[in-house]
């Protein structure tokens, strides 16, 4: 029968030191580290593309790179950032690391599948990098037909294959999380005792599992249509390009929520910890993430208001879009209310997450502008859209990702980082981000279209502002790389619970042992056992 060895006091990091012990690991914590390293590499690859884009746009003329190179740069930026950084970012690293720890399990339900999903991610990455090395792709990350199937002369099929493969990595991760959260919770860990991060992982997994296969099929059809010259998307072949757009956005709109839901989960963990206060309205927070995941599937047509879809479809999708705004608004209000009568500290993770709430609010509110039909007709495909989704994805997701890196760093590595530097980096990122992207809202309403290599001179002032901000933002992103790596060697040892947080993950050693817990904990209370009164008394 079962033969679980008694857990050794050795941490998961000391379990083996060879490369093979990492590449063949089935420990969820080690796989999380593998993901963390890979997505960081992709983040900086996508960041280099972004830097070149912003440098090109300093002058109205297309003088730094050629038009074709520019088109390949924004395609590379989009493909890498969406599929190889943002979508796997929090779920594959922190989700992998924390889901079993937070629910009191020894591992995910299917550890081998988990490793397979990392290898699929790498395989997809190799395809994509291959397409880039071989000469690039110029379709934009959206792969709109018939441009992608008939007219582009670049390596579309390889890029599409990369995204297809990485999609299966998402699907496997999602399956694993759903089963783990359902079946592997520690005794006493009822659904309403789950930390909100787990709820957000659950909602994210639903989207992974139900949306990604549609993308896979769509890209499959694109590849065949391009390869064989027969298909359903190109009007010249009797197809309909809007069919592609419907299928693509059925995935890609929920995918936006894949990027933001985990960030919301992180926000709930960190804000409660540093406000020393339990989350306001736990249940509505939990239901809100589920509502966002489900209603998020009903709104994809708002990407197509000027595409030539029927005006009735436009109106249905517009009204549904306003509905999905409500649970997001609830979350923002509840985080704010959580601060009320708290005992607030401003350590680096808290700064990142307060920044997240602010930027997400702006991103969300401008999303409502875009959901408004008559207004979207003007704003669609302008820099207003660019600014809006960067506020959500960079201002929202990346801020929360960085906050999570700092918050769980002692748990993952067992070391503390220099908080003063971290706070400085957080403020730099916040300032740099706003300098970069706020001018783009103005550019957008003035009418500057996206994906423009050159632009009329009247837009230059705002573009220069944006590019200047980007350099600040880049500095803000590079800083943590240095002090975090420094802390690996020189940082003071963190105890099991340096932040006096109340999740299960803080009840085991830092870094945790291979089997996570010496004995599986028994849960008797809801999450977030914080007391601001007591904390304030301690001073």
């Amino acid at each position: 029968m079962s033969s679980v060895p008694l857990p050794l006091p050795r941490s998961y990091l000391e379990e083996g030191f060879s490369l093979w012990s990492w590449l063949a690991t089935i420990d969820h914590k080690r796989i999380a580290i593998l993901y963390a390293i890979s997505i960081t590499l992709f983040f900086f690859a996508g960041g280099i593309a972004a830097t070149l884009i912003r440098m090109e746009l300093i002058t109205p003329a297309g003088d730094l790179v050629s038009a074709d190179t520019y088109n390949k740069l924004f395609t590379m930026h989009g493909v890498i950032m969406v599929w190889f950084f943002l979508i796997p970012s929090i779920p594959s690293t922190f989700g992998n690391f924390l889901v079993p720890l937070m629910i009191g399990a020894r591992d995910l339900a299917f550890p081998r599948l988990n490793l397979a999903s990392w290898y699929l991610y790498i395989a997809g990455g190799l395809f994509t990098v291959g397409a880039l090395v071989a000469g690039g792709v110029d379709t934009g990350w959206t792969f709109y037909t018939p441009y992608s199937t008939m007219f582009s002369n670049t390596h579309v099929i390889a890029a599409v294959c990369g995204v297809f493969v990485v999609g299966f990595s998402s699907i496997l991760t999602g399956m694993n999380f759903i089963v783990t959260i359902h079946k592997m919770r520690a005794p006493g860990m009822t659904w309403f005792r789950l930390p909100l991060f787990i709820w957000s992982m659950y909602a994210t997994s639903i989207i992974f599992v139900l949306a990604t296969p549609v993308l896979a099929m769509t890209l499959f059809l694109v590849a065949i249509e391009r390869f064989a010259g027969v298909g359903v998307f190109d009007p010249a072949l009797g197809g309909d390009p809007l069919l592609f757009q419907h299928l693509f956005w059925f995935y890609s709109h929920p995918a936006v929520y894949v990027m933001i839901l985990p960030a919301m989960g992180v926000a709930s963990e960190i804000i409660t910890c540093y406000a020393r206060k339990n989350i306001f309205a736990y249940r509505s927070m939990a239901f809100a993430v589920l509502a966002i995941a489900i209603v998020g599937f009903l709104v994809w047509g708002h990407h197509m208001f000027v595409s030539g879809q029927s005006i009735y479809a436009g109106m249905v999708f517009s009204i549904l879009t306003f509905l999905v705004a409500i649970p997001s608004a609830i979350k923002v209000f509840n985080w704010t209310a959580t601060l009320y009568k708290g005992s607030i500290r401003f350590d680096a993770p808290m700064l990142y997450l307060l920044g997240f709430v602010g930027l997400f609010t702006i991103g969300g509110m401008t999303g409502l502008f875009l959901a408004s039909l008559a207004l979207d007709v003007h704003l669609h495909d302008t820099y207003f859209v660019i600014a809006h989704f960067h506020y959500i994805m960079v201002g929202g997701s990346v801020m929360a990702f960085l906050g999570a890196v700092h918050y769980w760093w002692p748990k993952i590595t067992g070391r503390l980082y220099p908080d003063r530097w971290a706070r400085f980096a957080a403020i730099t990122v916040f300032v740099g981000f706003n300098l970069t992207f706020f001018p783009q809202f103005l550019l957008g309403y003035l009418g500057m279209p996206r994906r423009y290599h050159e632009y009329p001179p009247e837009f230059q002032v705002l573009n220069v502002l944006s590019s200047a901000g980007a350099s600040v933002l880049a500095a803000g992103y590079l800083l943590p790389l240095f002090y975090l790596l420094w802390s690996l060697r020189y940082g003071p040892r963190a105890g099991p619970n340096p932040w006096r947080a109340t999740g299960l993950e803080w009840q085991t050693a830092s870094p945790p042992p291979v089997t996570n817990f010496a004995t599986i904990p028994v849960v008797t209370a809801p999450p977030y056992q914080y007391s601001p009164l007591e904390d304030a008394r301690r001073g």
């Binding site: 029968m1 399990a105 339900a109 759903i178 079946k183 592997m184 059809l221 309909d240 069919l243």
Partner: protein, 213 residues
């Protein structure tokens, strides 16, 4: 005696492990539904776009072979269900027999399907390679046959995976790996097999029965 149930280190007991596997399989099946779902939407949109072409093209499919094949696949689902039942009851020989019957029916399905493909080839209905249909809706007919080959081909690939899995499971059964306490691989294979069957149940009227009147 059957071997003892092996419980992986992350699970508390065999029951938890079994339930996790069941749920995992169903979640995977939901994924499969959406995977084929994208294709069904493409089919629906294209058919609404050019209904006459789809009617014409559907008449060119071989409804006799298609219907026989549907019967074969439905029967294979029966033998698969009986195989799972026999395994749960510990009837090893019956279980092996039903698994082999299932695989054989699956292979028969592929054989008939292959015959159909050969006929389509001779009638010059294969898009890109030798499509030579002429008539008022030739373009739409080609699109239909593109979808026909794509969907049935994808279904066939799923079926081949299914047959291979059934073969593996049958071997495991022969090696006495299952017992009334442990039959998860057979059960999961069964679920997969039935889903492939369900996909075909929808493909059959959409491809063969569009306009037979």
């Amino acid at each position: 005696m059957a071997e003892a149930v092996i419980v992986a280190r992350q699970f508390d007991d065999a029951e938890q492990q079994r339930r996790a596997s069941d749920l995992g399989m169903w979640v995977f099946l939901a994924t499969e539904i959406l995977f084929f779902g994208g294709l069904f939407v493409a089919y629906t949109a294209t058919r609404l776009h050019d209904p006459q072409a789809f009617a014409t093209a559907s008449r060119l499919t071989n409804v006799t072979l298609g219907s026989i094949n549907t019967g074969v696949l439905l029967t294979s689902s029966l033998t698969m269900a009986l195989a799972v039942r026999a395994t749960k009851l510990g009837l090893r020989r019956a279980s092996i027999g039903f698994l082999c019957a299932t695989a054989a029916l699956g292979i028969a399905f592929l054989g008939i399907k292959f015959t159909e493909y050969v006929r389509d080839w001779h009638e010059r209905l294969v898009p890109v390679l030798n499509f030579a249909h002429v008539g008022p809706h030739a373009g739409g007919v080609e699109t239909f046959f593109y979808l026909y080959f794509f969907t049935t081909g994808l279904h066939a690939i799923h079926l081949i995976i299914g047959i291979a899995t059934v073969a593996v499971v049958a071997t495991m059964a022969a090696r006495r790996r299952f017992s009334p306490d442990y039959f998860t691989p057979v059960e999961l294979t069964g679920l997969y097999w039935h889903l492939v069957d369900v996909v075909w149940i929808f493909l059959y009227p959409l491809l063969y029965l569009v306009a037979r009147t």
